[in-house]
């Protein structure tokens, strides 16, 4: 069973929702990525999403775009992202680690090569934003062969027939994009999200995590009550961007703590 699946099952027994923070590898600098990841885990992260920097992140809002630009300035691309993940794994063998990125860097280093590198780094899942199921059948097959989960996005506009199609190809969990828009955009409508998550659950046994608009503890709590996982991306990346260098770790710690407390106070 995959580490991602095990984690969700354990949480389910405790009636809890997963806290899944996102950061971009190499932001603010490659030397800080692993300590940031450790900070996330120490402060309640059940899994980590690590963003692969890309020059043209078309599904991301300005905050994560800038993180990508900073990382690329630091010369961190897909290979260094995987190296950083590997460094993280030296000490942490348990926390599920998910890479999130775009198709081009993966294809540029070669799909086979990518998969063998992430296997070595003990990565548990991959989200490729611009690989819809129709265009990624081979890729998913290859990931499955190595027991790496392929996580797919489902959006508010995804119709039921498509949800079925996506669920069939997905493993690990389904990632529900809580709003029409890019990462970090406007506040989300909890009622709508709740309805759509329930709808997705009709078609799939996979856990459903929700992301793209969770910015504060109150929303995190509300989302945790209606889903199996809460992804927090832009809010954390913004904290990294806005903090003085020496305060990044302590500020991220505080932020994670407030999110975790909110989620733990919820009754699923």
């Amino acid at each position: 069973m995959s580490k991602i699946k095990i984690t969700f099952e354990k949480l389910k027994e405790l009636n809890k929702s997963a806290l899944i923070p996102f950061i971009t590898a190499g932001d603010p600098s490659p030397t800080e990525t692993v300590s940031l990841m450790n900070t996330l885990v120490e402060n309640g992260a059940d899994m980590i999403e690590l963003g692969i920097p890309f020059s043209d992140p078309m599904a991301d809002g300005p905050v994560i775009q800038r993180a990508s630009e900073r990382a690329l300035k630091n010369k961190v691309g897909i290979k260094d992202t995987i190296k950083l993940a590997k460094d993280f794994r030296k000490k942490n063998k348990e926390t599920p680690l998910i890479l999130m990125g775009y198709a081009n860097p993966i294809e540029a280093i070669g799909v086979e090569n990518f998969i063998s590198l992430i296997k070595e780094a003990q990565i548990d899942g991959v989200i490729t934003v611009d690989y819809p199921p129709e265009e990624s059948k081979e890729f998913v097959k290859k990931l499955n062969k190595e027991k790496i989960d392929s996580i797919f996005l489902i959006s508010p506009t995804t119709e039921d027939e498509r949800i079925k199609l996506i669920a069939k190809q997905a493993s690990g969990f389904l990632y529900y994009v809580s709003l029409k828009g890019v990462t970090g955009a406007a506040n989300i409508d909890i009622e709508q999200v709740s309805k759509n998550v329930k709808n997705i659950q009709k078609y799939s046994e996979l856990p459903v995590a929700v992301g793209f608009g969770v910015r504060d503890p109150k929303t995190a709590k509300a989302v945790s009550e209606i889903s199996d996982g809460v992804v927090i991306g832009s809010r954390i990346v913004r904290e990294i961007e806005e903090s003085d260098e020496i305060e990044i770790i302590s500020n991220v710690k505080k932020l994670m703590h407030s999110m975790k407390t909110a989620i733990d106070s919820s009754s699923v």
Partner: protein
């Protein structure tokens, strides 16, 4: 001979093309596919499209025998398809009229567009004004500077121009930003893409709307030149003017098709915008798989061209297919060669061409010299150069 019937239903031209977008856009693309296939052969839609092209755009555009240019080159006869005479000054308007009519049919009150040189932005703003649609145009902040007359033109037409500050601040970044807008406002917004790139069905749809150019040529050439051309030449940024004139000629196997990319300061300097000529790797950007200028880890690299409209790291997927299949060939022309051709056409023929088009002209002159006077070259004169006079003056050290 097998008829040419690409793309397939998933938008693939062989290994190129496709639909590489975030899930949020899939529904919108499915709706667009459905609507486009419903209307593209609908007699009323087609009649309205052609009526607008005739009465609003001024089609058909003439083909003009460039006699003095021909004499100067000293070989094949050079004919120019005068897309510069269209309303708004370039071929871009053909596609814009088509997509805007579709937007109207789909009940979308708001249209958005990306633009490089500003020609597509102006064309979109123009049609939006005419149809009473709200219009937002994304333009890299570098291009806003380079193409200021077009920025003002769009504003006069009632459009909002949003300068894009991310990435390299040019056309590719404008496209990213337009896609982000579309994802956000998908229910009330139609995205009018300006070239044969983007996810399926855009490369096919933009080609279809622009192919009025090539179809007219098929009729006009026998009249004016007594034959079909031996060679058709067009500049290639994303590749819409080239696809527009190439497409109806694809099955005319003895007509050579040549696309001209921007070699910038020279292919060997790396400062260019010529993914096909420089043998870039295949990759995925803006929703399709195609040849793409990128580094070894798949980051898109900055392009360079004196002409904003060619300053794009990718190329429409159908061109990648035409190149690999050998049906078309691709060459590149440097900034200084294009500038020379620009000045030359002004002085020899009394036509101020767009800098993009000047790349095609420069190559046509070179090629004509190696051909015989019985042979015929047809150049797609994709646009007029009024928008470029500031750029050209600057380069010549003149302030206007």
């Amino acid at each position: 001979m097998q008829p040419y019937n690409l793309p397939d239903e998933f938008g693939h031209f062989g290994q190129f093309g496709g639909t590489f977008v975030a899930e949020t856009l899939i529904e919108a693309l499915d709706e667009l596919k459905e609507m486009y296939s419903k209307y593209k052969d609908d007699p009323e839609f087609v009649a309205e499209f052609h009526s607008d092209l005739k009465h609003f755009v001024g089609r058909p555009s003439p083909i003009y025998f460039a006699e003095r240019l021909t004499k100067q080159a000293g070989g094949a006869k050079i004919y120019l398809k005068r897309e510069d005479l269209n309303h708004t000054g370039a071929h871009k308007v053909n596609n814009t009229v088509g997509q805007a009519l579709l937007a109207k049919r789909m009940g979308k009150p708001r249209v958005i567009a990306e633009t490089g040189a500003g020609q597509h932005g102006v064309a979109t703003a123009t049609i939006a004004a005419r149809l009473g649609l709200e219009c937002v145009v994304y333009m890299g902040s570098e291009d806003v500077k380079r193409q200021s007359p077009n920025v003002y033109r769009m504003k006069l037409l009632g459009a909002t121009v949003v300068p894009v500050e991310s990435g390299s601040k040019t056309l590719k970044d404008a496209l990213n930003e337009a896609l982000r807008d579309w994802v956000t406002n998908v229910s009330n917004t139609f995205y009018i893409i300006g070239t044969v790139a983007g996810p399926h069905p855009y490369p096919m749809m933009v080609r279809d709307f622009n192919s009025v150019v090539g179809r007219e040529c098929l009729d006009q050439m026998p009249e004016i030149a007594n034959k079909q051309p031996d060679v058709v030449i067009a500049c290639v940024g994303g590749g819409s003017n080239a696809m527009g004139i190439f497409y109806p000629y694809i099955e005319h196997k003895n007509v050579k098709l040549i696309g001209v990319e921007a070699a910038g300061e020279g292919i060997e300097t790396g400062k260019h915008a010529a993914p096909l000529t420089s043998e870039s790797k295949i990759g995925v950007l803006h929703g399709n798989r195609t040849y793409l200028m990128q580094n070894s880890e798949g980051q898109i690299i900055e392009t360079h061209s004196v002409s904003a409209g060619l300053d794009y790291p990718g190329v429409g997927p159908e061109h990648s297919w035409l190149k690999d299949s050998g049906r078309a060939s691709y060459v590149a022309i440097k900034d200084d060669e294009a500038l020379e051709a620009f000045h030359n056409l002004c002085q020899v023929e009394g036509i101020i061409p767009a800098l993009e088009t000047s790349h095609a002209l420069a190559y046509a002159q070179k090629l004509a010299a190696d051909m015989s006077p019985e042979e015929v070259i047809l150049v797609n004169l994709s646009g007029r150069g009024d928008k470029d006079i500031n750029t050209v003056a600057n380069i010549s050290g003149i302030s206007l």
